[in-house]
Symmetry: C2
Subunit: 220 residues, 2 copies
């Protein structure tokens, strides 16, 4: 990893055209070949960057970064270099995550009666021609129920579930199939659309499903 602090201007030509006027910035050159240009705000997002694979040519005061496949170009005009250092970091063991949609799906599948007494799981990721239904289950009367799970329930999710339902209801072995839209939080517009299409909405309590009391003060 190479860290350069320099007064520079930058021009990008590729998927779009963009220009950065002359100013002091951080230029971050990683071992993977990527280049990113940071200012002192915008959190972790760089002002401009180039993804690998790319080639860097340093030519007098002009650095040209060219993407090896698309031909995109990043041209840095260097005015003054204030800092330039290199560091060996090695390969990173990487990030372990927890708490995303996959986990919500696992938890709801384990506690399918959250949707109502007598519910039974058919299977998770039930494949159809247009994609996997998150959860397929049956209600207390034995009727098929398709569940779409989102962390945040928006209109797109309702559309997605609608397409699945349309398809599933063509299958005489499954029909009639009811829909349930389950999310940690459901936007009002999504709720209206779901209701209009006869889809039930369920708000999921992640901590409750996980068995951790939400009022647990050790988290956060």
């Amino acid at each position: 990893m190479r860290l350069v602090i320099a007064r520079c201007s930058v021009d990008y030509v590729g998927r779009l055209t963009a220009h950065l006027p002359m100013a002091p910035r951080l230029i971050l050159i990683k071992a993977d070949g990527s280049v990113s240009i940071h200012c002192d705000d915008r959190a972790f997002k760089p002002l401009n960057w180039m993804n690998p694979p790319c080639k860097i040519r340093e030519d007098d005061g002009t650095w040209t970064v060219t993407h090896s496949k698309t031909g995109e170009k990043l041209i840095l005009t260097m005015d003054e270099i204030m800092h330039d250092s290199k560091h060996e970091l090695g390969v990173d063991p990487g990030l372990q995550k927890d708490g995303v949609e996959a986990h919500l799906q696992e938890l709801l599948a384990e506690h399918i009666t959250t949707l109502g007494a007598g519910y039974t799981l058919v299977r998770r990721e039930y494949m159809t021609a247009i994609g996997p239904v998150d959860i397929l289950c049956r209600d207390q009367s034995g009727a098929t129920v398709a569940v779409e799970i989102k962390r945040r329930g928006e209109i797109d999710g309702v559309e997605q579930l609608t397409r699945y339902l349309e398809l599933l209801n063509r299958d005489p072995l499954l029909a009639p199939v009811r829909g349930v839209f389950a999310a940690q939080e459901i936007k009002p517009q999504a709720k209206v659309l779901a209701m209009d299409r006869g889809i039930d909405c369920v708000t999921l309590d992640y901590d409750g499903l996980r068995g951790i009391e939400p009022e647990n003060p050790t988290l956060f």
Copy 2:
């Protein structure tokens, strides 16, 4: 801006829970208060980060970064600090962009006959109760045409246009309204769905519309 190279392990508790084992990394502390932890690959994306506003407490070998509003926490356990430097960058003049969807819409409105001879523009951003139709125009026969523009045409765009068409066709002054899905690139699935719904697909040539020959060798 402060640049620290250190062997550290990181724990994040907030919107999700995540852990980074001990390894050498870059810790980037910006003047806006943000903290991001980079390894030597993954291009410009950090392994972990904290957005402003947040507070950093350095306590022996443990750095605790706490988000001031949500209470999210990033805990860095520092093993060895290999580099630590500070740099004044000042406020950045910022990025000037060109070439996004708004520009595509302008260009297509200016060259509406791209859709066919005799086409005439009614207006851009034609407002409806459920949102603005990108372009409303009439074909050579005087029939109304609603155009949805995307940079990359996917299934969501077809759904969106479908909702507009359904609404517009309830207006006796406009009906019957035909749909055109225009994008620089249209995904096969979106094309199939559009066809199925009687919506025409048009692939836009950005450079052609802009009046620059696509074979111009100075770009890229």
